[in-house]
């Protein structure tokens, strides 16, 4: 299990490949990658603030719970902070399990908890100024299924 919080970009292909390689007991590998998207057009940057110390602890706890609950062979969480451009990758998670159902569920669990329980805050910067991204009720509700 590995948890990484950094401002530098990460190499998704290399991380995904390294994670997927060498788990011969696990037949199923799932990855999720979050990318800065510019739906409305005009997004200049995404700024991500976090709570150093608590962030690492929260992600480690969430990942540990996923590993235990779904008997994962391995789990990976990488999350960036700082200023990101549209198209840049914000974060990734990866899970390795014997069966695909466990790998999928564990990855969704990681994402649901990471969205609403890890201390990150996003701000979108456009030509009109900067605005904090509001938490969505649908993300909070997503926790109820676990």
């Amino acid at each position: 299990m590995r948890v990484v919080v950094q401002d530098a970009p990460f190499d998704f292909g290399q991380e995904a490949d390294a994670f997927a390689t060498g788990h011969t007991v696990s037949g199923a590998i799932v990855t999720f990658t979050g990318v800065v998207r510019d739906v409305a057009g005009g997004l200049k940057a995404m700024e991500i603030e976090h709570y150093p110390g608590m962030t690492e602890a929260a992600l480690t706890e969430i990942a540990g719970q996923a590993v235990t609950r779904w008997s994962l062979e391995d789990a990976l969480v990488i999350h960036r902070y700082g200023t990101l451009a549209p198209g840049e990758m914000i974060m990734m998670v990866a899970t390795a399990a014997r069966h695909r159902k466990d790998a999928f569920e564990a990855a969704e669990y990681l994402m649901d908890y990471l969205k609403s329980r890890a201390p990150f805050w996003k701000r979108e910067v456009t030509a009109d100024g900067a605005e904090w991204v509001a938490a969505r009720a649908v993300d909070e509700d997503a926790l109820n299924r676990w």
Partner: protein, 81 residues
């Protein structure tokens, strides 16, 4: 006690952290103390249902006791991922 602010709470109050001397028994007592300080604090803490709190880097409720707590952080709902 160290008190930390993040995101728009930090912006409204105008600083990321400060040391607060307080006799507050609970988080809500501390919020009441802070609200009385200045308008910017009153504005930041106007609606605590829009806020979250962590005690020593663990999420907590606003009625949680502050016994032995060294670090309190206030911030809006998180938007990771």
């Amino acid at each position: 006690m160290d008190v930390l602010y993040f995101a728009w709470v930090r912006e409204r109050i105008g600083l990321p952290r400060e040391v607060v001397e307080t006799q507050a028994a609970t988080v809500m007592d501390l919020v009441e103390d802070l609200r009385k300080r200045e308008e910017r604090y009153a504005a930041a803490f106007a609606d605590v249902t829009a806020l979250r709190v962590a005690l020593d880097q663990q999420l907590a409720d606003f009625d949680a006791p502050l016994d032995g707590v060294r670090e309190v952080a206030f911030f809006p709902p998180m938007t990771g991922g």
